[in-house]
């Protein structure tokens, strides 16, 4: 139960589509979504494969709780070898697409090969068809969704697609569903683009069942009550969204600013949740119009925003005067603090374009920040950039750059390579704020030490969503630790990593963990799924998944040498705030972490570890 027990295998080269039973033995070991699809991927592709070649595979996978009424039970993940990183990629998204795939009867779709011409897949219950996407190619995500719904005359279809960024194989392009929810990181959109796959449109009329309905209702109701009663998930996130962190992290001196030259941004308040709620523009409405919940989510942290119609970005573009997905914290940081830009409307516009054209705003903003530093150093100039004046703080530069990057036009094509390749091209690789080629997000490891280890060891390249130690180090959830010290962080990171891998594999949103522990989650999974799902078995599954991903990366050629942070974080001390004078203590934390993981000093899981995890 809970699983649909079926997957679709779509060979884009031959056009062959087959239905297969889901490997339930693996489901018992890897649960679903991130874990289960990673198992399939690692079994089916050569880890050394070129991510953009037809030999790479692209997997859309749901979790067992996806499509159920468990709060936030609406997630799906895209698993592939990442275009940006060359590491295993797993990008998780909400919205309504994942549940719809299950309503159509499938847990997972595996795409193989490469279509000769642009295609899209429709899954309408058991009618699965590859369709010609000739007239969709070149269309934005928003137009693609509208066109597909119109063509099939079904406004209740849910669609995951790439924008022009993915078509152009921008290395950090994402897959966007439901207009503004995205499988955002690691370049999963570029992989989709490389396969000439424009979109996946699903519509299902079947149902998802659970193993023990009465128990499921009991445990999920209890879970919802915990979320509602918790001050963070019940009030904080729905009211302020993640963006409330802007002032928190700035105050704590951990807001990477201007390509991490600084750890505090003087314009933070202008781009914060507080600013989003202030009346602006001629209609007197604030930037933030409403909050939105993804499927089954009782938290509803999503932002629905609008841009002031008189703002220079949209003054002549009424097509952008409507409401759409607003700034989340990471996007606001990347588009704003990382570039030194404090213009909220410009950031909102750039965010709209990222959604519309399918760009990861974190990697885009951080790459732009790196380019701005190259400009500042005189390495880039308007001759190279084709007239783009990449000055820190320039909203005009942000606007022009985001438009050019999706289209891969002019210097936009270089920005689309990501900061590692861009800075390397101009001889300054040390300026790239990345790990394993992926830009890190909105927490400076000098001010929040646990995040340094998090970034360095993340299996998909720098990322906050693999172990969100900010929760403990800054917000005190579940308990307060000191962000400025390294002691205990290896254990904290490992615990967060394993638990998050389990949550990501269940079909739930990691934001529930501001209120839920595995004590709340395991009973819900157990009631829905066959098998024994306890805190222990879930943690074990999480650890197994983590090691599986690690093993893939090791086989792909990554080594302990890749578990490192940019030079700036290790050498240049923070200039202001509580962390003033501090650098990252990764050197101290990493060996301890390897040991806790049961890995060799070279970061390789020992035979004992592999055996213990039944890998």
């Amino acid at each position: 139960m809970a699983w649909m027990r079926k997957l679709l295998r779509v060979n884009l080269t031959t056009g062959n589509i087959v239905e297969e039973p889901l490997n339930m033995e693996w489901a018992q070991k890897y649960l679903g979504q991130r874990g289960l699809a990673s198992k399939y991927l690692t079994e089916e592709i050569d880890p050394k494969v070129d991510p953009l070649s037809p030999d790479n595979k692209l997997i859309f996978c749901t979790g067992p709780l996806t499509g159920t009424s468990a709060s936030t039970g609406g997630r799906y993940s895209v698993i592939t070898k990442g275009a940006l990183t060359g590491a295993i990629a797993c990008s998780n998204s909400g919205g309504y697409f994942g549940p719809e795939l299950k309503f159509a009867g499938y847990d997972m779709i595996i795409f193989e090969g490469k279509a000769e011409k642009p295609v899209y897949l429709t899954v309408i219950d058991d009618k699965v068809t590859l369709q010609d996407a000739g007239d969709l190619w070149g269309k934005s995500v928003w137009d693609t969704e509208a066109a597909i719904k119109s063509k099939h005359q079904d406004s209740m279809m849910h669609i995951a697609s790439i924008g022009i960024a993915g078509e152009n194989q921008v290395l950090y392009s994402c897959i966007v569903n439901d207009l503004h929810r995205a499988a955002g990181r690691s370049g999963v959109g570029a992989v989709m683009g490389s396969k000439n796959l424009k979109a996946v449109a699903v519509r299902g009329t079947g149902g998802v069942k659970v193993d023990d309905f009465m128990e499921f209702m009991k445990t999920t109701e209890a879970g919802k009550k915990v979320l509602a009663d918790n001050a963070v998930t019940g009030e904080g996130l729905p009211t302020y969204g993640t963006q409330v962190l802007m002032n928190v992290i700035n105050e704590a001196g951990a807001l990477p600013t201007r390509n991490s030259r600084d750890v505090q941004f003087e314009g933070a308040h202008d781009i914060s949740a507080e600013a989003m709620a202030e009346p602006s523009g001629k209609d007197g409405k604030p930037n933030l119009l409403a909050n939105q919940g993804c499927f089954a989510c009782t938290i509803a942290c999503g932002r629905i925003s609008k841009i002031n119609e008189e703002h220079f970005t949209v003054v002549n573009k009424p097509e952008y005067w409507h409401a759409s997905g607003g700034l989340e914290y990471e996007a606001a940081w990347a588009l704003g603090a990382a570039t030194g830009i404090n213009d909220l409307d410009a950031l909102t516009y750039a965010n709209f374009i990222c959604n519309e054209q399918g760009l990861d705003p974190i990697s885009f903003g951080a790459t732009l920040g790196a380019a701005m530093e190259l400009w500042d150093l005189g390495i880039l100039n308007s001759e190279i950039t084709g007239g783009l004046e990449l000055k820190f703080g320039s909203a005009e530069a942000l606007t022009a750059a985001v438009e050019a990057t999706g289209k891969a036009e002019g210097f936009g094509a270089e920005l689309g390579m990501g900061s590692a390749r861009l800075t390397a091209k101009y001889g300054k690789p040390e300026l790239s704020q990345t790990v394993k080629g992926q830009e890190f997000p909105a927490y400076d490891p000098r001010g929040i030490q646990g995040m340094g280890l998090t970034y360095a060891t993340s299996n998909r390249g720098a990322c906050h969503l693999r172990s969100y130690t900010v929760s403990s180090e800054i917000l005190g959830i579940p308990e307060k630790t000191d962000p400025l010290v390294t002691e205990g962080k290896a254990g904290l990171v490992k615990a967060f990593q394993d638990a998050t891998a389990a949550v990501d594999s269940a079909g739930l949103c990691v934001f529930t963990t501001f209120a839920w522990t595995l004590e709340d989650i395991a009973p819900q999974v157990n009631a829905a799924c066959e098998g024994e799902w306890t805190v222990d078995t879930m943690l074990e599954a999480g650890e197994r998944i983590w090691n599986l991903e690690r093993q893939f990366n090791n086989q792909a050629g990554f080594t302990a040498a890749d578990d490192k942070l940019p030079e700036r974080l290790m050498k240049d001390a923070a200039k202001t705030g509580p962390a003033e004078g501090l650098v990252s203590g990764l050197d101290v934390m990493l060996p301890e972490y390897y040991e806790l993981r049961g890995w060799t000093a070279d970061g390789v899981p020992t035979n004992e570890t592999m055996a213990r995890l039944r890998l």
Binding site: T68, S69, F103, M156, V208, A290, A300
Partner: protein, 157 residues
């Protein structure tokens, strides 16, 4: 006492918990496409609108039913009797609110019946956008006004 679903779209976040609850109670599986309540997403206007049968007095569906399969109970609820419904779908075109729908799987029509007095959608709504309250309470007037916007047909002088 008459009770009714009072819907406040301003509170709706689009989470679809109502659809999930409705579908499980009525269909035995989580299956929003067969939910009797549906949340419309007006994305560009930052609005979500839960939408279902208002159990209107006119009962267009009931009047149009050729086999007397739709009846009104003591609480004003219009119920479909599956044993009598032949699946002719006349009620689906007769209901000017579009809240009676055909279920291909069963060959019958489905509509909201307020779960016999304990509507699952209202219980499941995390934001009180859907409440089941006494009709005297504020809010029902609004719903009636909304229903009347669609009032048509015979006009009593």
């Amino acid at each position: 006492m008459q009770r009714a679903l009072v819907i406040d779209p301003g509170k709706c976040t689009g989470c679809k918990q109502c659809e999930l609850a409705c579908s499980y109670v009525k269909e035995g599986a989580f299956n929003p496409s067969k939910s009797r309540i549906r949340v419309f997403d007006f994305h560009q206007n930052a609005r979500f609108v839960p939408y279902t049968c208002t159990q209107c007095d006119e009962a267009w569906c009931q009047q149009a039913c050729p086999t007397n399969a739709i009846t009104t109970d003591a609480f004003g609820v219009k119920n479909v009797n599956d044993n009598l419904c032949v699946g002719c779908k006349v009620c689906t075109i007769a209901c000017p609110f579009g809240t009676v729908n055909y279920n291909v799987a069963t060959g019958k029509v489905i509509k909201c019946d307020l779960c016999g007095g304990d509507p699952a959608c209202a219980s499941a709504c995390p934001t009180d956008a859907i409440a089941y309250t006494d009709v005297e309470q504020a809010g029902f007037d609004k719903m009636q006004a909304w229903a009347q916007k669609t009032d048509a047909g015979a006009l009593q002088a």
